[in-house]
């Protein structure tokens, strides 16, 4: 079907295959490969993008459904070559290892902070629960969210201890 969609501020008009997902459309048609495919089944969250301002698993949305919609992906998160505050907090707090979950994780954090600018640790865990990460054990990502929301205290500040 023929459709028009705004992605990262650009209007794209495309013929889309009916059974293609938004994830496949973004990665293969628009060549926006920052959004990753970890399971194609809505289980891992690696493909999380913003659809009309709300975080969704792009593998669970058909491309045809986004006709007329606005989509934002990780490629639009940094502006003018500068990391966003969320991205910078991930970097400062070692919230990135292999990087495959990172795009989706950043999107979910953005969604969380949009609703809740100062989330508790429990709320952060809830907010990123749908994003699997096999490398970090989540802790430094949680610390990054505390950091970007201005909540780092001696108690929440993570660090290596030495004996």
């Amino acid at each position: 079907m023929w459709m028009s969609v705004e992605v990262n501020g650009h209007i794209y008009e495309r013929e889309v295959t009916e059974h293609w997902t938004l994830l496949r459309f973004l990665r293969e048609d628009l060549e926006l490969t920052g959004t990753k495919d970890g399971c194609s089944a809505g289980e891992c969250g690696a493909c999380t993008v913003m659809l009309n301002g709300q975080a969704v698993n792009a593998c669970m949305v058909l491309a045809a459904e986004v006709d007329g919609a606005t989509v934002e992906t990780i490629e639009a998160e940094a502006a003018n070559g500068e990391l966003s505050e969320i991205q910078a907090a991930f970097a400062r707090n070692y919230g990135v290892q292999c990087g495959y979950c990172t795009a989706g994780m950043v999107m979910s954090v953005r969604e969380l902070l949009r609703h809740n600018p100062k989330p508790t640790v429990a709320e952060i865990k809830e907010g990123i629960e749908g994003n699997l990460c096999r490398c970090t054990g989540y802790q430094q990502i949680i610390e990054a969210v505390l950091d970007v929301s201005g909540q780092v205290t001696n108690e929440t500040k993570g660090g290596l201890k030495y004996v």
Partner: protein, 800 residues
């Protein structure tokens, strides 16, 4: 320029330097193999066996071949190649028989994924289904069908492995130390028990992916998510009998690996499809479901431990029997068996020991390397056993462990003498115990217990591991100076998330006395351009590559000093340097910049001298030997990293539900290169370890069909499953031959998490857990169906 590797002036080493790869990964700009697309690229799909064991009677591919858009269809019949790491036992596609559920029997390359999928559906395979061999203990029975009747004809690495033709055993590793019978005769108590682990899946977020093109004149290029480009090239060239300079392996960013991407996987199949399709590049990325059974898992283990203990609580003898379930192919399982055998007693001083470790074929997806390389599995049994033995002899589990720990002067199972520089397991154990207030409940914990009605327990466990690698493992680094005085480092150690690029940047910067901003570690690995490295596995990268990088920096500086000596009319002994320039010590104003020397120095009159500054560093594991095949004696370990975990768990004694309140873990890393990346590695491993401890497991039906190949049915931990508190502790006993004194810690955080958890649950409830994973229902069962402890004590003092 003459400092030892340990004593280099450190200004970045030890600091929280931000990861050098994070911006690319945070902005979506980092390219992974799954992101790559090439002109003319075809997509592959694989026809997989629905049976665990069957004869292939016929395969009809004619409908698939006639489907428009299909460029190549392959079955095993036309592929006369065999691959294998240590035992060469695997066909590229099943030939005549299938040996596990999910095994590849045919493959297609087509213009789109959709066409390739349709073509695979059009392939008809006729099977004669046979009863599968599913238990590795059954597979040892003489009446068991043979998974590989031709085992006796396979090539294998003779220095390290011992296949037993006519059986299901591709390897036995034996260790003999002291006099086992005398040791047991000396014992007051003898305690014997069996512990088991299931197979689990690595679950990297990026599934296996590769693109291969095999062009005219055998020019092969492979882009892959593999961990180890040179080993991949080696195995590929051996299978196809190709010269090594015909095959190029390129590894872009890798989305997690954990051992599952070591060795060789899809690349030979894609290569054959490409060749048949006229040299077009062929891409395949495993689905999450395929990741569970088309690709390998971690081997299951049954571990029987028999321990003799003297009246003073010292272990007098230990008989350790390991039964590793290799699955259908030997792959890494034979080497997991070997590495586990020589580590089998843990960081304890065992005077008399006997290890028989068997690798056993079954009709299940095959086991490969997985973070810890056998140690996660056998430490489950070992550290549960230590707990249960302590209980039997009436000694506190921490005291029992401390009494038996390795210390300077102790010898390992293979006869290696431990000294004060090997590392300090006692300090790790005490740090972990202290961090959880081991042995008592704090007033807050007492109050919490009273409030919730749940029982709080505390458990500890130790661990050790050395890199499992060939005795002659070697690596190299090249460092090239640009004309502005910045440098690029080329290594073949892949960045799979562990932070290699960052710590190598720090070490190179310090050795050169440059700021980190002047050092770049190239992202992509390329066997045509990078210097050799054996593999990115075994927690060996920091030590070997670190030493090679230091040597490369020194080589570059030597060249720069030599050229500067000429420019400055001095001897190299007269010179010193800072970040910008080389100068005469006595008159620092007489100097020349690195930038001016970088690609050859030019005199004012136009004369040129010197040339591009390019440093080469090599490092080879020092002094290691093969192990004697009958006694296991020798030196297999480059370095031992010791560690310990402490866990506080809260258990509902009525339901078996539990929660981890705290995990605290300590590792003797020699020297922390980067506290932030080390803590990230540690916490990541601890949580991966908790996942396999709490819930992860392959589940089969009685026909050997895998029932849970998805993240819905094979859960890994989410952020909500984290302990309330996570503490990570560094111990620094310098490794004298480590770079800046450091040793590896990539795998260790995952090892022994499971027994620490089970020991805490045991402490809270008395549940005698012997099987992994520890699900709530397993705790409930262990609490309610507990067998009396004396059924597994075979010898005890008369008065006990």
């Amino acid at each position: 320029m003459s400092e030892s590797n340990t004593l280099s002036v450190a200004t970045h080493v030890g600091d929280d330097v931000q990861r050098v790869d994070d911006t690319a990964k945070l902005t979506g700009g980092a390219m992974y193999a799954s992101d790559l697309v090439f002109a003319g690229m075809l997509h592959a799909q694989v026809k997989k066996s629905p049976h665990a064991r069957a004869k292939i009677v016929a395969i009809n591919t004619s409908k698939a071949e006639n489907l428009p858009g299909v460029h190549a269809v392959l079955t095993g019949k036309e592929l006369d190649y065999r691959i294998g790491l240590y035992v060469v036992d695997k066909d590229i596609l099943a030939k005549g028989a299938v040996r596990h559920f999910g095994e590849a029997v045919a493959a297609v390359a087509a213009e789109s994924l959709d066409i390739a999928s349709r073509a695979v559906d059009l392939i008809d395979v006729e099977y004669e289904v046979l009863p599968p061999v599913l238990s590795q203990l059954d597979a040892l029975d003489e009446s068991s069908p043979l998974v590989h009747p031709d085992l006796g004809s396979y090539d294998y690495v003779k220095a390290s492995f011992s296949p037993q033709p006519g059986t299901n055993i591709p390897n036995i590793t034996k260790i003999r130390k002291g006099d086992i019978d005398a040791g047991f005769a000396e014992a007051k108590w003898i305690i014997e028990r069996e512990y088991t682990n299931p197979s689990v899946q690595h679950v990297p977020l990026e599934t296996h992916v590769a693109i291969v093109e095999w062009k005219a004149a055998d020019e092969v290029t492979i882009w892959s998510s593999a961990q180890s480009p040179f080993t991949l090239r080696d195995l590929f060239c051996r299978a196809f009998k190709l010269p090594y300079n015909k095959v190029r392996v390129i590894i872009p960013h890798v989305g997690g690996a954990f051992g599952g991407k070591a060795g060789i996987h899809l690349e030979p199949l894609l290569a054959c499809l490409s060749r048949k399709a006229g040299g077009r590049p062929v891409k395949f990325q495993a689905t999450r479901e395929e990741e569970f059974s088309l690709l390998p898992c971690r081997s299951a283990l049954t571990y029987r431990i028999k321990t003799g203990v003297g009246a003073d609580g010292r272990i007098t003898a230990q008989k350790l029997l390991m039964y590793w379930d290799a699955g259908a192919y030997a792959d890494y399982a034979v080497n997991v068996t070997r590495a586990s055998a020589y580590s089998a007693a843990g960081p304890y001083d065992i005077p008399n020991a006997w290890v028989d470790a068997y690798t056993i074929y079954t009709n299940k997806p095959w086991g490969t390397a997985y973070r810890g390389f056998g140690h996660v599995e056998f430490f489950w049994g070992l550290e549960r056993h230590m707990e249960l033995v302590a209980q039997v002899i009436g000694m506190d589990p921490l005291e029992f462990r401390k009494k038996n720990l390795l210390k300077p002067g102790s010898t390992t199972l293979t006869g290696e003498r431990i000294n004060e520089h090997t590392g300090n397991p006692l300090k790790c154990l005490e740090a972990a115990a202290k961090a959880i207030n081991y042995g008592r409940l704090t007033p807050e914990e007492e109050e919490r217990q009273a409030r919730t009605g749940r029982r709080i327990g505390k458990g500890i466990a130790t661990l050790h591991k050395a890199p499992a690698m060939p005795s002659f493992t070697t690596t190299a680094a090249v460092i090239k100076m640009n004309s502005d005085g910045s440098v690029v480092v080329n290594i073949a150690l892949t960045e799979i998330g562990q932070g290699t690029a960052t710590v190598v940047t720090q070490m190179a910067a310090d050795r050169l006395r440059f700021p980190v901003s002047r050092v770049k570690v190239a992202v992509e690995r390329d066997t045509d351009k990078d210097p050799f490295d054996w593999q990115t596995v075994a927690s060996k990268g920091l030590l070997l590559t670190g030493n090679a990088v230091i040597a490369a920096c020194d080589d570059l500086l030597r060249q720069a000093y030599s050229d500067a000596a000429q420019v400055l009319r001095a001897q190299t002994a007269d010179l010193d340097h800072d970040a910008e320039r080389i100068f005469v010590k006595q008159r620092p104003e007489e100097s020349v910049t690195f930038a001016a020397l970088s690609i050859g120095y030019v005199y004012p009159n136009g004369n040129g001298i010197g040339g591009p500054l390019i440093g080469l560093g090599r490092y080879t594991a020092q002094g290691l030997t093969s192990l004697d095949k009958e006694t296991g004696q020798g030196l297999p370990a480059l370095d031992w990293t010791y560690g310990a975990h402490g866990v506080i768990a809260e258990v509902d004694p009525d339901t078996g539900e539990y929660k981890v309140i705290k995990i605290a873990s300590a590792f003797d890393v020699g020297k922390v290169i980067n506290p932030g990346t080390m803590r990230g590695q540690c916490i990541g491993g601890m949580i991966q370890g908790l996942g396999t401890a709490e819930c992860e497991s392959y589940i089969y039906d009685d026909q050997g069909r895998l029932l849970n190949p998805s993240l819905t049915d094979n859960k890994i931990l989410t952020a909500k499953d984290l302990p309330e508190e996570i503490e990570c502790i560094a111990v620094e006993t310098p490794q004298l031959d480590g770079p800046f004194g450091a040793r590896g810690v990539g795998e260790h955080p995952m090892i022994s998490v499971a027994p620490a958890l089970a020991n805490a649950i045991h402490d809270a409830t008395g549940a005698e857990l012997t099987h992994m994973p520890v699900r709530f229902e397993d705790v409930w069962r262990a609490i309610h169906n507990k067998q009396p402890i004396d059924t597994w004590v075979t010898k005890a003092p008369a008065d006990s």
